[in-house]
Assembly symmetry: C3
Homo-oligomer: 328 residues x 3
């Protein structure tokens, strides 16, 4: 493990302004609630000021407007959360797995691995695969033939890259398989979560842009294109041929239907089904509210009679109109 | 790779009628947008006529009503999408993996493999498993003891067949495990997507019919029965003891609750929760609409007051009735 | 396989009262519908009395109020379902896999395995991992470095324990990775389904309590805490830093948003999104109803105009109030 570093050393590497003792020695990051001596924590919002007051941390990262809330040695910066991320990166090696190909991995002779690539036990890397420098595949990742992964990728266990897309055509009462002859192209600085699946394209490639972050159990269908620096939370499904722009965020459990496109800088809330294209940046939501079971049952039964309810309101409006006319 | 073939050779193998030069040489399939010389594309609907006009493909598959839309060499047929699937099968070997058991796979001594079966690296095939002729298991598939897979199966990486169903009984404040002593029986011509899980039965088998196609990350609970030629899109969950008929389609992210049955020829839309049995063929939907976040918040808050809204409408109707009666 | 046992022997081991011939010989459990000679079935509810009447089972487990419904040899007890679970455990070994480390597994030198632990082929157990006595990991389970699993665990294939949580911080137009330096701590008597993923904590551990049962394809985010004896059905996602109490049940496909807490003894229905903390035991639901596609389309379109409908009802109320006032 690197370190320890003084607060001054940290700030000289990462920027920010030190307030209080710059010589305090830091060995690791920690949370406000549990950090102890030698640990640095961060304050993301003044609403956690009580935790700050009670913290056992030796130093804190915070924003200028919160600077006066503590007398602890501190680093003052614009974006404490991102700053803290970089402090933690300083103290903690990027991956849990050393470079090299584990003897329990199977790499096809025709695959190309960049410098300092790490391939865990149980990984299976197909013919013609290319993986860029400094990428880390944790155990049990499968990359099908012909797929390409950029530099500095982190791919977690159980991820499957390049399986056949779900291409079937009705033919009488049966299904004809449409061979999936495209592959998957993944940019640089991409992280792929555990058991996430990214299907190969039908004819052209499925494309994941630079800096994309996919959480666990995400499903990306064939021919999708995910724009650079988009983040996709756990259990999201993106159906075939959907295109998602750059700098988007997709909340947990959301579903993006196929053959539509989402423009740049769209935030999709958790559990939301995107059923048509979105052409305007913003936040979009379609989460159904929960309630205690009894209230839910009473209210939800009416969802199936909404059209009838609207008709009754229209009828009332007409009758009242008629009466008012008649009265006039 | 097989081929090249002339358009006439393709039609003589697969049927259809050639219009234009029958001697044009085809080497591969392609999309209308990106196909070049030597490639054949297809037109599924006249609405893509602009793409057809601009295509670089050497030939096209299309329906009779679209025949006059192009002067390119073409094959005219009833179902261009299915025809195209078969053309692509002609040019592209069925799987990316050769027959045989990879040295990195573990096949129990008591397992039975048919002719030309392909078992990828990292697969684990349990005692008493039987796999039919020409089946292909991609890397890292696990088949638990006693499960049976038919002929011509394609099983993608990360699929788990035969894990214990979720059988637990409350016993005071704890859960008693109910041993899962059934297995899984899978018919012929089944495709199973990456990271899909199919649980073994509690006492009898979980059954997947002939020709069933399951996309990625599908979960099939214990004791389920999926009828022949049903297709299930990605991230669908089928809870325990549900029965789905033949020739059904289940859209992405749908949830079929347990202990119910769906008759033949039912189409369930994406994201729909089937909470009671369906006895009539047709399309069923329960997707909640998304909206910009502000509109969603305003409208959705009212879902929790629908019963109250209906009461107010009823009160209005009574008051107006009373007034009208009183006025009369 | 253990057995056969007489009904009297079963009751002497597991309790309950025998009615009818206590010497009938039982070899295995079965379902009412399919059990034959030598098998014991159970009746969970009097509504299945027709199946009981037609059963081929040699004996039945049932409650006192159902005792008179059959003349078959029977065991009368308080909780027939839990009793049946224990009868089945008697006849069926707990796991399908013998103790020991399979030669196709990779266990890091610094990992600690308890007595009679079973590690299947393709498992990868990281540095510093500890696994308690009598635990069984089926093939292809990955446990990242530093994670701990208690005694008597059953972990199904494809499960991934300890992958990095989804910790990223916006930093200009890019994402900074927040190293995930916590681990996962799992109690005793936990079962984890196929392809379930449990992420390691950001700074502290993700914690799964004693007796917790997780079905397949469940996703547990970083820093979550799941209380003892809680059961989570398939395809549930629990977002980061959520806390779920003891003795809860979470239905299939539900989504628990992050940074909230659910108290003890809460039942969440299938497909329900929990979007704020729950402080009162009970059942909570948020499932959107399905309908035939045409009815759904008609009713659901109105969801997006609910606020407008409520406004119209309010206007009607005012007009009628005004009229009534004016009439008075």
């Amino acid at each position: 493990m690197p370190g320890p570093f003084t607060l001054a050393q940290i700030a000289s590497q990462l920027g920010g302004r030190v307030a209080g003792d710059p010589q305090v020695l830091i060995r690791q990051v920690g949370s406000l609630e549990r950090a102890g001596r030698g640990q640095i924590a961060f304050l993301s919002s003044p609403k956690y000021r009580a935790r700050l007051a009670a913290t056992g941390a030796s130093a804190v990262v915070l924003a200028a407007e919160a600077e006066a809330l503590t007398a602890l040695p501190r680093i003052v910066c614009d974006n404490p959360y991102a700053y803290f991320a970089r402090v933690s990166q300083l103290f903690n090696p990027r991956t849990l797995q050393p470079p090299g190909v584990h003897p329990g991995a199977w790499v096809a002779p025709g695959a190309t691995l960049g410098a300092r690539v790490s391939i865990g036990a149980g990984c299976v890397i197909g013919e013609g695969v290319a993986i860029g420098d400094d990428s880390c595949l944790y155990p049990a990742v499968v990359v099908y033939p012909g797929c390409r992964i950029g530099a500095r990728a982190i791919v977690h266990s159980g991820a499957v890259i390049g399986a056949d897309g779900f291409g079937i055509a009705r033919d009488g009462g049966r299904w004809q398989k449409i061979p999936q002859i495209g592959a998957v192209t993944i940019g640089d600085d991409v992280e792929i979560g555990a058991s996430t699946t990214i299907d190969r394209g039908t004819m052209d490639d499925t494309v994941i842009g630079d800096g994309v972050k996919l959480d666990n159990q995400v499903q990306i269908g064939h021919n999708c294109r995910i724009g650079a620096h988009t983040a996709v939370a756990g259990c999201v499904a993106v159906a075939g041929s959907a295109e998602i722009g750059k700098h988007c965020t997709i909340g947990a459990g959301a579903l993006i239907l196929g053959h539509l496109s989402i423009c740049d800088r769209v935030d999709v809330s958790a559990d939301t089904v995107i059923s048509r294209s979105i052409r305007k940046p913003g936040t979009y939501t379609g989460m159904f509210p929960f309630d205690d079971n009894e209230s839910w049952a009473r209210n939800t039964a009416l969802v199936r009679h909404l059209a009838e309810l609207a008709d009754r309101v229209r009828a009332l409006e007409k009758r009242l109109q008629g009466k008012e006319g008649g009265d006039g």
